[in-house]
Amino acid sequence: MSFDAVIDVRNVSKRFGGLTAVNNCSLSVQRGSITGLIGPNGAGKSTLFNIVAGNIVPDSGQVLFDGQDVTGLAPHQLFRQGMLRTFQIAHEFSNMTALENLMMVPGDQPGESLVDSWLRPRLVKARETEVRKKALDVIDFLKLGHVRNELAGNLSGGQKKLLELGRTMMVDAKVVLLDEVAAGVNKTLLHDLAANIERMNKELGYTFFVIEHDMDLIGRLCDPVIVMAQGEKIAEGPMSEIRANAAIVEAYFGSPVEAD
């Protein structure tokens, strides 16, 4: 079935002490899709992301990226192969400005090699100008222009999340993993962001793999949606189908709150 799966997770398990966070889980993400991943708190979604992105080595099982076994590869190696992720809890570089946070993302900057930075200053400078321009564009899009010179550690919770998202726009990636980018982000801005994600998917061919608790967003963007619970995949399909599944609705959505 995984003919055109860009990410293929096969029988992956991960335990923390006595707790099995991911339990023999298999799933795949099709090239060019925006795949959603939902499930109750503690279902193991972020752990699965960590495994796919190389931040955690699974106890057993395999992860295939573009048809190749990448289990156990370091995050920076996966980045080089075109995988980019965001973090649920913002991982900003707190002592660097917002702009610098974005400028450090592009790979293969000649200035990052000691020899080049000593001996080929002109090349370094040319690339640096390019990177800065790109970063400024992204920052404006995220409406963070006025805080671009602020230390990232001093940004508000939501602004950090936006920065987290901004990183994915700094490079051309094959696959982007988004871990709850919407949490804490203002809804109006979120509309623009969603539109941009759709655009990147359609026009630039990015594949997105999205963890989200915001059902409106999932409903608008994602097809298919994968449901995880207790470390296992329990369902997959379009949102409408998921909503129709009584068990999931009971376990995951609950009943709407009464107005006072």
Binding site: I89, G184, K187, D260
Partner: protein, 234 residues
């Protein structure tokens, strides 16, 4: 007289002010919800009330007394309580010890309050000996709220209590908040799940750039097309 009243509060982390005049008034029976774009100063407002940053202008009156720039260990005995958005439980302490820490400022016997908290969150009574670090996200949020309630506050402040929670927990948490409010505790909270929160809020405040932009009941704000478009995502 309002339980808490912020009049044109100005303040910030350094010399540059983040709050440029915030006005908020909450009664004991109110659930107040602050909404607004990212970086508007919502969290900063709560921190300013709680003495965690410098207020340089305006007044914050709580029970008729100006409490601007008082520190938490003075404010908690007066009846204020605060649940930060993240890292809001002591992970290495047991659930019961977490609750005790909430009662640290109390000199009287707090056994009754603890029973009340356990009654409200029965699942916590089951896990009272377990370290809070081993609980799920939703349970932690209950511990955090329980801890804040242990000081018997008249005003409970919450910073994005629903962020990161799965829809089911969001509902639960909001229900709990309503319940706590019915027990006679005023609520002031910041939310990005704005529509849902404003639905049961008795007062709503829209902040932008450190200033009030709209104030009204929750229903009024939801109904206001301008607010809905600019702040609630249409």
């Amino acid at each position: 007289m309002a339980l808490i009243e912020l009049k044109h509060v100005v303040g910030g982390y350094s010399s540059v002010p983040i709050l440029n005049g915030v006005d908020i008034a909450i009664e004991q029976s109110d659930i107040g919800v602050i909404v607004g774009p990212n970086g508007a100063g919502k969290s900063t407002t709560l921190k300013a009330i709680f003495g965690l940053l410098k207020v340089t202008g305006g007044t914050i009156e709580f029970g008729g007394e100006n409490i601007a720039n008082s520190l938490p260990d003075k404010l908690v005995p007066k009846g204020l309580s605060f649940v930060p958005q993240e890292k809001n439980v002591f992970t290495s302490l047991s659930v019961e010890e977490n609750l005790e820490m909430g009662a640290f400022t109390r000199k009287d016997d707090y056994a009754q309050t603890m029973a009340w908290v356990y009654e409200m969150f029965p699942v916590l009574a089951e896990k009272r000996r377990q370290p809070a670090g081993e609980l799920s996200g939703g349970q932690r949020q209950m511990v955090a709220m329980g801890r804040a309630l242990m000081s018997k506050p008249s005003l409970l402040m919450l910073d994005e209590p629903s962020a990161g929670l799965s829809p089911r927990y969001v509902i639960e948490i909001f229900e709990t908040i309503v319940r706590v409010n019915k027990e006679g505790v005023g609520i002031l909270m910041v939310e990005q799940n704005a529509r849902q929160a404003l639905a049961f809020a008795s007062k709503g405040f829209v902040l932008a750039s450190g200033r009030n932009r709209f104030t009204g009941t929750g229903a009024e704000l939801i109904a206001d097309p301008e607010v809905a478009k600019s702040f609630l995502g249409g």
